[in-house]
Symmetry: C2
Subunit: 323 residues, 2 copies
DNA sequence: TTGAAAGCGCTAACAA
DNA sequence: TTGTTAGCGCTTTCAA
């Protein structure tokens, strides 16, 4: 930068102003400086800039895993929004492991990242609280952890669940089974509630033995569905709250020779391409992952830019496809 | 840091040495400093450290897309290796778009990232060349772009293709069709070569009309396979060089009522969960994505740490499962 | 519209 | 084993 200034016959600060557009610079001066920058192949040092300005131009996005297309679609939305506003993103895999998450958050504070968008685990509160003490901007995505005040961006799980269940009911099903994730989790609770509301609203009983929950993942979906198929009479339909559970459930149904939708209707959240081969035979709801990521970052950057007001919960409607 | 030093009754540099283990510090002093750090909740500023030390502790990983599990599995390997060695990773989506890649590389230079691991596009040479002028360490992954001298880490595409084709031949197939990506690309060339070698090695002719190539993606796989099915006699088997092509090909076969493997054997690269439902009926080869990512970063960090020697091409064998 | 001086928080180089 | 000094490359503050 010193070289650029010297060669252009201006002061350091003028070069800085040309680069950052931080103040008016005479057009001629500006052109001259830009020419020298080009000539010398000068690239500004963001570290030095950050040190003085206290803005790093970086964000962090913490996701449960990046090998699942649902989360990476969120990442794409987040990244596109960040890039369009001149920010770079550190993408971090937490594996839903609070310890790993805490380690990342420490690194994040060290790097003086301007803001964090996080899909929290159920035990994230202490680490996120610490983050906020360091005055790092924060937005929660998809889940909400008790005790943390921040903007939250998520899809309307409960509404989606009501829509799925209502569709099955409208198709004439009554004995509807539920295959879900851990009920203790925020979204799990939300989805189970939606299911129950839709059922009771239609005057249908929710049989406790048809409500199956377990950890996320195909194995769990497989096992829970096997249990359901062992009952007699079998349920007439199944609603599933998560794509990976659905993958296991569908395998169990295939193995048992159950035809979909002739023998049994299946309605499920549908967020990963692995379900594509089955899609035409399912009733599905897809969460607007890209938009969730995008809005999460937008809100974060607005806060960083000084947007005032109390924390908000921004809820997206989901997209339903009935078959 | 000044506060920590004052309160612990030592100089700034002693605090620095405790944090970085950069020199011997008396155990008592060290303990005292650590206690104060804890008490004051001090977190070092990486920006300031980087400015002086000229090491940012950051890497960048440029991938074609993060919504495809093959690439994100590479990212996981890269990230795990980086984290274990105290580095943070900027993950960047290039969409195989040289312009987007170039924009990222500019940001990367600004941030004075210590090194870059990239899956290049076919037109990446100028941007990567520029990167090297700024003395940023570089490793290429999975593909290799002409004119750039760097370490390369990739799977053995040619060997994998030979193995797949050989398996089909051993099963008695002779009229084997080939469905592949753009032949101009490095890996495309490699795979086609492997196919041809295996065929001619077994004394089988390669029918030109059974060699189909097109862009990546399910649509392309679908169209190419439809073409093949329109021929008579139909091929007895198909080898497919890419998971997403396979997805489209399998849909075309399903629609045509072709049973696998009874009516037609299918051998394919298999790197994404979307193929799981078909896996049992296919002969597959899986590339060690996690290890490729891991070794890529390991090699990069070794270079950054000063490892000498000429650039190398590190080739992983792939994992074959025959059905 | 431009500049001079000070300093962001840390570490390299040298010294004791 | 510990400390002093200088300075990394930039932006803030104040001044012209």
């Amino acid at each position: 930068m010193k070289d650029v200034a010297k060669r252009a016959g201006v002061s350091l600060i003028t070069v800085s102003r040309v680069i950052n557009r931080s103040s008016y610079v005479h057009a001629d001066t500006r052109a001259r400086v830009l020419a020298v920058i080009e000539e010398l192949q000068y690239v500004p040092n963001r570290m030095a800039s950050s040190l003085r300005s206290r803005q790093t131009g970086t964000l962090a996005l913490l996701l449960p895993t990046i090998t699942n297309a649902f989360w990476t679609t969120i990442a794409r939305g987040a990244e596109d929004e960040a890039e369009s506003r001149g920010y770079s993103v550190f993408l971090c895999n937490t594996d839903d492991d609070p310890a790993k998450e805490a380690r990342y958050l420490d690194v994040i504070v060290r790097h003086r990242v301007d803001g964090v968008v996080v899909v929290p685990t159920s035990e994230s509160a202490p680490a996120l609280c610490r983050l906020q003490r360091y005055e790092v901007a924060l937005v929660q995505l998809h889940r909400k952890v008790a005790g943390i005040e921040s903007d939250i961006v998520r899809g309307d799980s409960r509404g989606a669940m009501i829509a799925l269940t209502t569709h099955l009911l409208a198709a004439g099903c009554q004995r509807i089974a539920y295959v879900g994730g851990p009920p203790a989790m925020f979204m799990g609770h939300d989805r189970l509630t939606g299911f129950q509301e839709a059922m009771t609203g239609a005057g249908c009983a929710v049989c406790p033995e048809l409500v199956k929950t377990g950890p996320f993942g195909p194995e769990s979906g497989y096992a829970l569905t096997k249990d359901l198929l062992a009952r007699s009479p079998r349920p007439e339909a199944i609603v599933i709250t998560n794509s990976r559970l659905a993958l296991g459930a569908l395998r169990a149904l295939d193995e048992a020779g159950v035809r979909i939708p002739d023998d049994m209707a299946v309605a499920t959240f549908y967020d990963i391409p692995a379900l594509d081969p089955y899609a035409a035979r399912l009733t599905t709801v897809t969460q607007p992952a890209y938009e969730i990521g995008r809005l999460g970052v937008r809100r974060l950057l607005d806060r960083i830019a000084g947007a005032a007001g109390p924390p908000e919960e921004l809820i997206f409607p989901n997209h339903i496809v009935a078959h």
